[in-house]
Amino acid sequence: MTALTNQPQKPEATAGLPMRPSLPWGTWGVRTVALTYLTVLLIIPILVILQDGLREGLGGLWHQVTLPIAWHALKLTLWTSALMTLVNTIMGGLTAYVLVRYSFPWKMLLNSLVDLPLAIPTLVTGLMMVVLLGPQEAVGSWLKENLGLSIIFAPPGIILALLFITFPFVVRAVQPVLLNLERAQEDAAATLGAGGWTIFRRITLPPLVLPLASGALLSFARAIGEFGAIVIVAGNIPLYSQTAAVYVLGEVESENRLGASAVSIVMIAIALSLVLFVDWLQSRSRRSG
């Protein structure tokens, strides 16, 4: 019971005088611990990598980033993530709508399954993709032979893996807003003569725009840094299917730390600005909701 001795002493209440609020030692303690933790864990590593990447100045950083292989890896990362985000936004919104508005057997189970990608190691995700769609497997070889479509070890595989991994983000952003949305508003629009599409466009969609956007941006940010699944799925062919995260690993392994840090800084910058933007969006949606 040593913990007891650490607890702040209660100041004695003096009769007649208003009691002073107890000294916020506890509050101070908690605050200090939390902020120190944040600094040590998040801020210092970021500062360190910034310092490392800028060792040879901005010019050096720019040089490393614009090396053809690095540049291609960054471009590949961005466009696959962007395409994935587009699909995920539409399908995630639709999934959330179906989960909220319709009742069907096994709905509870399916609803829980939405979070599964967060729990599955992304390496396993990659493996599942390869087992399903690899060129040696039934589905993969059929697609290759009949449609000329390579998925694994090619950009489509990257997009599929990213879709799987970021599936929960849009669904979970939209679901609570949809749940709170009054059905009566849609009914009211119907009594006023509005058809299904008009109701969706003018009544249902507007409150969903912000959550859709924040879910989309979060999944985009998550996708940029994805490594585990992609390292298995993409095949890591430089100038074809190597993404930025995998490129960083390659550079670390070939002892080009400057290159690794430089590309990392670009990825961090993108992620950070997205997170800040999402934060701003969410605070706006709270204010208006």
């Binding site: 009054e182 059905r183 009566a184 508003q185 009914d187 009211a188 629009a189 119907a190 009594t191 006023l192 003569g193 509005a194 058809g195 008009t198 003018r202 009544i203 507007p206 409150p207």
Partner: protein, 636 residues
């Protein structure tokens, strides 16, 4: 006629939330649907607007059959309880929404929008967002939005329910004057009686999906047709007395036969209604200036603004049974509610505990509808047994009987029904015959949707067909008598009750039925050994004593037994050792899924009894908790 509903029925999971409702609302009429929550009144509005589809029946708006039209084409203005304003649009955009859909030109649209906002008293607030307005203002916007595009009818679903008392009254007046000004046919749904009386040209009272009665506020208050409406609207003093060829007898009072009862014929029971303001109080019988009911003691007083409210307790009166105010369980005293003006109160001040003579100025007699039975027959031997016993009970109870022949139509069925008619013979209040090709449970469901029954009687062996009993119980809101084999009219009844409110209802309905049979009753409670604490024992004994009192008021001699142990074997043991010929049990609670399952004690007892009639009593307390009677919860 602006709105015509023909035999409208809506079921959720097989349970009718709107049950065979027919209604005509005249042009320009302000019609109020009044009922407690879950009575189906909002569902009717949703049906008219097409927000839910009807399972059966027709909806005709201004001679246009809209039953199968989508909401968008019905031209109804709808106002929701929670306003349902479009949160992402300004007030002006909200109001213009319907006009935009109709592609009305911009200038015309603005003109009509401004007129509508002015009509509801919100001119100049068009640029606000809905959440910047108070609740009352938001509902005004909703009203403007519903009216601006010129709908054929206006439907209001508890529009004032979410507002403060004062704003509610303001908006109510406003609403009424706007409705008069526009002359638009309106249906207004509410559970608030005051609101209904204040607004309505006519009121329709709903309960459990049925439209019980329709009339002007005055008609429904002063001259209701049914016990339900009499006790539901306002405060009612409702007593059961006798009607003879000469007069209505209420204990010592002889009242003239009112014109609404055309032919008294033979002597029978009649329900007499009088309102608190129809009660006279005086220190002596002579000063009453009206027929006297008896001398009572003031039990409660309160001041309700302009009036003094009193409740008096009168000693039991021979031949009079109180229905409302509800006497205590096991008490035969008669309670009378009275109101007096301050002037009357000052002339004869009354304190708690003081005595006064109670008289009645004005009264209304309801023809006692009596019990109504549905006897199901398929021509089998067991059905014959049900027919025989049911017929006998019906004759003794002077009940109305509907005979439902189930099975392939043909000569055999026709002969059987002919035979059955003869067997039931005279002595019934009424006899009607129906046939159905559907399976038994479906046939019962259809029949009970067309008319309410107190009791359904079926010949059934529970050992063989427990599932059928479950299906039939699920088919509607009635008590069920199961007859497994031929037997004479019961003389010894065993009522298995658990102490508590549903248990009280079991006892009371069993009493109403057994009373007519002249049978004796035994009240049985089985306590688990573990629950045999003095407190529990005392509580159970109190409950049973109350039950005996209630039964004796109904004229049923009764005794009580408490047994200890496991319920099923104890009940079976009691049945086997003594000569009971009718067993009464409460229906088990419906499950969340609305299924009624006869497992547990009731099912165990039923499957073990092969030769005794069993009455399964349905508690209304259970009914009202049934999730199926809350259509809103279901719709989500």
């Amino acid at each position: 006629m602006s709105i015509v509903l023909e035999q409208l029925t809506k079921r959720y999971d097989g349970y009718p939330v709107v049950n065979n409702v027919s209604l005509e609302v005249k042009d320009g009429e302000f019609f109020v649907l009044l009922g407690s929550s879950g009575s189906g009144k909002s569902t009717i509005l949703n049906l008219i607007a097409g927000l839910t589809s009807a399972d059966h029946g027709q909806i005709i708006l201004h001679n246009r059959n809209v039953t199968h039209l989508p909401t968008q084409k019905r031209r109804v203005g709808f106002v929701f309880q929670n306003y349902a304003l479009f949160q992402y649009m300004t007030v002006a955009e909200n109001v213009e929404f319907g006009l935009t859909i109709q592609k009305v030109a911009s200038l015309e649209r603005q003109k009509r929008r401004d007129e509508a906002l002015e009509l509801v008293g919100l001119a100049g607030l068009g640029n606000r967002m809905p959440r910047q307005l108070s609740g009352g203002q938001q509902q005004r916007v909703a009203l403007a939005r519903a009216l601006v595009y010129g709908p054929d009818v206006l439907l209001l679903d508890e529009p004032l329910g979410a507002l403060d008392a004062k704003i509610r009254i303001d908006l109510r007046r406003n609403l009424r004057s706007i409705q008069r000004q526009l002359g638009i046919t309106t249906i207004f749904v509410t559970h608030d009686q005051e609101e209904a009386f204040d607004l309505a040209d006519r009121i329709g009272v709903m309960s459990f999906g049925r439209l019980i009665e329709v009339g002007t506020p005055e008609e429904l208050y002063q001259r209701p047709q049914t016990e339900f409406v009499a006790s539901f609207l306002g405060t009612a003093n409702l007593l059961v007395g006798n009607i003879t060829a000469q007069s209505v007898e209420l204990g010592p009072i002889r009242l003239p036969i009112p014109p609404e009862i055309q032919h008294a014929g033979s002597e029978r029971r009649v329900q007499v209604l009088f309102r608190p303001e129809d009660v006279a109080l005086a220190p002596t019988p002579a000063e009453l200036n009206c027929p006297e009911l008896g001398r009572g003691e003031v039990e409660e007083t309160s001041f309700g603004g302009a009036q003094e409210r009193l409740r008096l307790r009168l000693a039991p009166i021979a031949g009079v049974r109180p229905i409302a105010p509800l006497p205590g369980f096991g008490s035969a005293n008669i309670l009378v509610d009275a109101t007096r003006s301050p002037e009357q109160a000052s002339r004869f001040p009354l304190q708690l505990g003081e005595a006064a003579w109670v008289g009645v100025h004005r009264f209304h007699a309801l023809v006692h509808p009596g019990l109504s039975f549905l006897i199901v027959t398929d021509g089998s031997l067991r059905a014959q047994a049900a027919l025989a016993l049911g017929g006998q009970i019906a004759r003794l109870a002077h009940a109305r009987v509907t005979l439902l022949g189930v099975g392939p139509n043909g000569q055999a069925m026709e002969n059987h029904l002919q035979e059955a008619r003869k067997q039931l013979g005279s002595g019934l209040a009424a006899l009607e015959v129906q046939t159905s090709n559907s399976p038994i449970a479906a046939a019962v469901a259809t029949a009970t949707e067309q008319a309410p029954y107190d009791l359904v009687i079926i010949g059934l062996s529970l050992q063989e067909n427990l599932a059928l009993a479950e299906q039939v119980l699920q088919a509607g809101d009635f008590h069920l008598l199961l007859v497994p084999s031929p037997q004479p009219a019961p003389t010894q009844t065993l009522i298995c009750a658990t102490s508590g409110e549903p248990g009280k209802e079991d006892v009371l309905f069993a009493g109403r039925l057994v009373r007519h049979l002249g049978a004796e009753a035994t009240l049985l409670c089985v306590l688990p050994v573990a629950a045999k604490t003095p407190g529990r024992l005392e509580q159970t004994q109190r409950f049973l004593d109350g039950g005996v009192q209630s039964l004796s008021i109904l004229g049923v001699p009764a005794k009580t037994i408490i047994r200890n142990g496991s319920a099923t074997p104890e009940i079976l043991d009691e049945v086997k050792n003594k000569g009971y010929d009718l067993l009464v049990m409460g229906a088990p609670l419906a499950r969340q899924s609305s299924e009624i399952k006869l497992d547990g004690v009731v099912g165990e007892v039923l499957t073990s009894l092969t030769d005794k009639a069993v009455l399964i009593v349905r508690s209304h307390l259970i009914q009202s908790k049934n999730p199926l009677t809350q259509p809103k919860a279901l719709a989500k």
